[in-house]
Amino acid sequence: MLRQLQCSASVRFFLPPDIMNVVANPVCKQSVRWRRKPPGTPLAKSKLFRIPPRPQVPEEERIELFRLTTNYNTFIKSVREFLREEVQSAAGKEQLADAVSMDDDLIRCKEINDKWNAEVALIREKRLLHEKEEKLNLISKRLEERKIRERNRVAEINELVRMEKEKEKYYITSENIDEAIENALRGEVDYNFAIDVKGNIYKGEVAEENLEKKAVETV
């Protein structure tokens, strides 16, 4: 008996049966490049500006089709709704039956579990309370630190202001600008002085006679 070989229906129709086992494995086969265009490839040039023809449906046919489809949809929807109601009522009955016939063992286990859950809830409450307290402590500590920082900052600023106020004596303002200019013009700086290791300044171009004695005196 010949095996049923994989062969297209059209080929099977035209060829005699005894040749089928050769045709099933032909020497040259047509192959298909791809089933559909791969994603990302652009449209073919012949299809770029193609405008598909708008389908022209005669008015009477359109009305008839619409009528038929709406009737069909209504029918299907009603059947589905009916089945849904049936299933729901059946499921409801089943659930009732299940609830009634549930294992006593399982009920007992649920009770044990509820007790366990209650214990864990207590532990959790304690933990959350503890965490809340810690958080509050941390917040108050941070606020304190911020206050201290603020106080220090204000003190520093005050110190700066005080120093500036002291220096204010030597500022040149619009009132004493003329005086300051005159002083600057008049002011002569005498660079003829000597300085010893101790930082004592001895003014004058020529060293005084008793400089050494003086130095000794200062020392």
């Binding site: 549930m102 286990c109 579990n113 366990w116 532990i123």
Partner: protein, 167 residues
């Protein structure tokens, strides 16, 4: 022989898996564990999942076991039964051993049931059976019996179709 890869690969050894204590009831279909990867009160849950989940799945291959991470403030286990019921087991700040013991008490088969099932299984594992799924594949395997019926056809008076044929 090189070391097994991964953290605590002993969890993947057969001996460890066979030592699992948790054999869930037949009615339990899904078991889900919700826990976080950080947090002291999730430590027990994390350990339970790390150490005992492989054992659990090995012993209950037909139960869907799934973990949800970082979705909950407190860890819990949820068991779904075939009736649509569910059981929530709170495991906040519990150690893995406590969790295992509680599971054994609440959702596992009792020891008597396990013993009865083991007994029933032994009856099925009769070494005298032969054929598909048995140790001996054919009657010819057993010493002192007939040669293989695939080679030497069984005499007609021994064939079932002749013995039980209604004339």
């Amino acid at each position: 022989m090189p070391f097994m890869k991964g953290p605590a690969p002993i969890r993947r050894t057969l001996k460890y898996l066979e030592a699992g204590k948790v054999i869930l009831r037949d009615r339990v279909k899904i078991l889900s564990v919700n826990y976080n990867t950080k947090g002291d009160h999730h430590h027990g849950a994390r350990n339970f999942v790390f150490w005992h989940l492989p054992q659990l799945q090995y012993k209950n291959p037909d139960v869907q076991i799934i973990t949800f991470k970082n979705m909950t403030p407190t860890p819990f286990i949820r068991c779904f039964f075939d009736s649509g019921d569910e059981m929530i087991i709170d495991i906040d700040s519990r150690t893995k051993d406590e969790i295992i013991d509680h599971l054994v008490k609440v959702v596992c088969k009792s020891e008597e049931l396990l013993a009865a099932e083991a007994l029933a299984k032994e009856k099925k594992d009769n070494p005298a059976n032969f054929g598909f799924g048995c140790d001996k594949h054919c009657i010819c395997d057993i010493p002192g019996q007939i040669p293989c019926p695939a080679v030497v056809p069984v005499p007609s008076h021994m064939r079932g179709k002749n013995i039980f044929a209604k004339d």
